[in-house]
């Protein structure tokens, strides 16, 4: 990780999109409380969603990349972005764990494609999904689908202050306990993925009476075996358990 030397200019930011919903890009704009400050503190020299000016060539002090890798050209682009950027953060579950675009990883590629297109298949170049970290070194992961305000802010602020970002590295359960929620797994037997899911959302689902479905992806060192055991005791079938884990972590579970 190399940080830019401040001088009197603003850090130059490039925002890039691969295979995804563009939601992480929009999340920057949904970021209303900090949007004005963000626009003023950074120089967005490349952000296709928000600007028709600028060039993808860089150089960038910070590159933010959303989306999974599912096309050959994206690998070449990603390597170029890496070479032109001091700091590169992966943004969102698609880029970090594969997220929703990776669901198809569990099924033969042609089988999936055949269900979406009838005649066009010769023109498609789509690959089995993979994540940014498979190809280049990542300086940080802004988790979530979409990322939460705290980590997004931390990503931006860390670059302004030239320090390593501190992203939430614990489970959703921790946030849930801090909020004082009643545990839906224990109290109601809902199949909550909170114990193995990376924090950052503020334990939204349990706060709204719903089991976490792991949209922030599995956290490092998650004890998935223990949670699967718990789900079995709740009466979930193996199929149902597999589905809980493959919604946002198909690349992990279908290795």
């Amino acid at each position: 990780m190399r940080f830019f030397s401040p001088g009197d200019r603003k850090p130059r930011v490039g925002f890039f999109k691969f295979s995804c919903c563009t939601g992480c890009g929009f999340q920057l704009a949904y970021f209303q409380k900090s949007l004005e400050d963000t626009l003023k503190s950074f120089d967005f020299t490349f952000f296709r969603l928000a600007s028709s000016s600028g060039t993808p060539e860089g150089p960038f002090d910070l590159a933010l990349v959303e989306g999974a890798v599912t096309e050959p050209y994206q690998i070449i682009e990603l390597k170029k972005i890496r070479a032109n950027s001091a700091v590169l953060y992966a943004v969102g579950s698609c880029a970090i764990t594969g997220g929703i675009p990776a669901i198809k990883a569990g099924v033969p590629e042609m089988e999936v494609q055949n269900k979406a297109y009838r005649t066009k298949l010769y023109g498609l170049t789509s690959l089995r999904p993979s994540v940014l970290g498979d190809y280049v070194e990542i300086d940080g992961s802004v988790r979530g689908c979409p990322p939460g305000e705290r980590d997004l802010q931390e990503a931006m602020v860390s670059v302004l202050f030239h320090r390593k970002p501190e992203f939430a590295g614990y489970s959703v359960c921790v946030e849930c306990k801090i909020k004082g929620n009643i545990c839906v797994l224990v109290a109601e037997g809902l199949p909550c993925m909170g114990p193995v899911t990376n924090a950052g959302c503020g334990a939204l689902c349990p706060s709204y009476h719903r089991a976490c479905y792991s949209c922030f992806g599995l956290m490092g060192q998650a004890n998935t075996a223990a949670l699967k055991g718990k789900f079995r005791k709740l009466g979930l079938t193996e199929d149902e358990i597999e589905r809980r884990f493959s919604l946002f972590d198909a690349l992990e579970t279908k290795k």
Binding site: T22, E36, Y208
Partner: protein
């Protein structure tokens, strides 16, 4: 002479425009959408019915509520589940507030810079500082509604599920949302004035205008298909009325009314076909903007229509918040077998989902047709008209005009490919 726009900026997703002019004649034109496919229709097969909304939400980061809503209605029809009235009210609030915020983003961040010859909203600062502030405040107000009903976030909301809502905001929160809306009146009018004051290029389209229509209300979450060329139909007949074609040069499909030419869906078509059901204030502004009583079919006016709709949906939200009940119960639907189809009005127009679900509650077939697929042929057709009408202009001007027209449709390329 060949012209290419390269990667289109300020458009959701990845695409570009190419055209060729020889001896003062437009020879070739195509909008190439290379947005990578994620094969949603393929990956949904094998998933359980109650996972569908959380998956399809990720088709699009700007209209996730529309994909959730349409899939929820289609799935509920397939499994034979009827939502209660409180749920229907809360669902309308989700859709109305999402359309308003989506329009705001489009108008202020994506479209506005064109009219000042700039590349982005950032380049319009500090001149447009006041507009930026109002935009942020309004967006916060509308996102606040989506997020209060959607479980804490407006993007990929968590509490709206098959069967209803796992939780709803309490009285205090609802009161707060109402008062935020009340105090946004001036901001709303100012944004309308900002947009209605723009000088929009001339263009007449021959496209068929298509939208939903419902008794006594401006249809959003449910309705019959209508058009200005006499098309009438139910959502269950959608697949026999419309035809989806694959395009060799693009990953998006083109959808047309069977046996007919290009169509246009979205805010302009909705107002064209349902102006009598707009709220009072929205009607006044529609009159002021020239959208009624004698509308011209100019696709550039879509941005005026969006500005009018923001006012309409603000009033719609206000009225619904009066009757929204926090205590709506969430009914957990049982898996069921069957087929279901639903059409809704997404911010950008007609959105279709259909599902075949087996006895175990597992999706066996899925079909999704998005607003931008409905508009795709019309966008190309009208780009041709626009360039032919201005053929003697310098190519840079043509590229700018073309970009403006594409943006006027507010296309969503991630959706169009999905």
């Amino acid at each position: 002479m060949k012209a290419k726009t390269g990667y289109l900026g300020r458009v959701e997703g990845e695409g570009a425009l190419e055209f060729e002019i020889h001896d003062g004649k437009l020879k070739r034109l195509k909008v190439n959408i290379w947005e990578p496919p994620r094969f949603f229709e393929g990956m949904l097969v094998g998933r359980r019915f109650d996972e569908v909304p959380d998956i399809v939400s990720r088709i699009c980061g700007i209209c996730p509520v529309s994909h959730m809503m349409t899939s929820i209605r289609a799935v509920e029809k397939a499994i034979g589940f009827e939502p209660d009235r409180g749920t229907i009210v809360a669902r309308k609030l989700m859709s109305y507030s999402q359309i308003a915020s989506s329009h705001l983003v489009h108008l202020i961040m994506l479209a506005l810079p064109d009219y000042y010859g700039k590349g982005s909203l950032m380049e319009l600062l500090p001149d447009k500082e006041v507009t930026l502030k109002k935009f942020i405040r309004l967006k916060e107000t509308f996102n606040g509604i989506t997020s209060a009903f959607g479980g804490g976030r407006a993007l990929h909301p968590v509490s709206m599920v098959v069967g209803g809502f796992t939780a709803l905001p309490n009285e205090n929160r609802i009161r707060e949302l109402r008062s935020n809306l009340l105090s946004s009146k001036d901001d709303l009018m100012d944004i309308f004035k900002t947009v209605s004051g723009l000088e929009l290029p001339d263009l007449q389209t021959g496209s068929e205008f298509v939208s939903l229509s419902a008794e006594g209300e401006y249809a959003v979450n449910e309705g019959q298909i209508v058009s200005d060329m006499g098309l009438r139909g139910k959502e269950d007949d959608y697949e026999t009325l419309f035809d989806e074609k694959e395009v060799p040069y693009s990953n998006a499909k083109k959808t047309v009314v069977r046996g007919r030419g290009p169509l246009m869906v979205g805010a302009l078509a909705r107002i064209y076909l349902q102006s009598d059901r707009l709220s009072e204030n929205a009607k006044k502004t529609a009159l002021e903007a020239g959208l009624i009583p004698d509308p011209v079919k100019n696709p550039f006016h879509n941005i005026l229509a969006q500005a009018v709709e923001i006012l309409h949906f603000a009033e719609g939200c206000q009225a619904l918040l009066e009757i929204a009940k926090p205590e709506t119960a969430y009914l957990k639907p049982e898996p069921g077998e069957g087929e279901g189809a639903a059409l809704t009005e997404a911010p950008r127009g007609l959105l279709y989902h259909s599902y075949l679900i087996d006895r175990g509650g597992i999706v066996r077939k899925a079909n999704i047709v998005t607003p931008t697929a409905h508009n795709y042929l019309g966008i190309e057709e009208n780009l041709r008209r626009l360039i032919e009408n201005n053929i003697n202009e310098p190519v840079e001007r043509l590229k700018l005009l073309a970009g403006m027209l594409i943006r006027a449709y507010d296309p969503c390329l991630s959706c169009s490919v999905h």
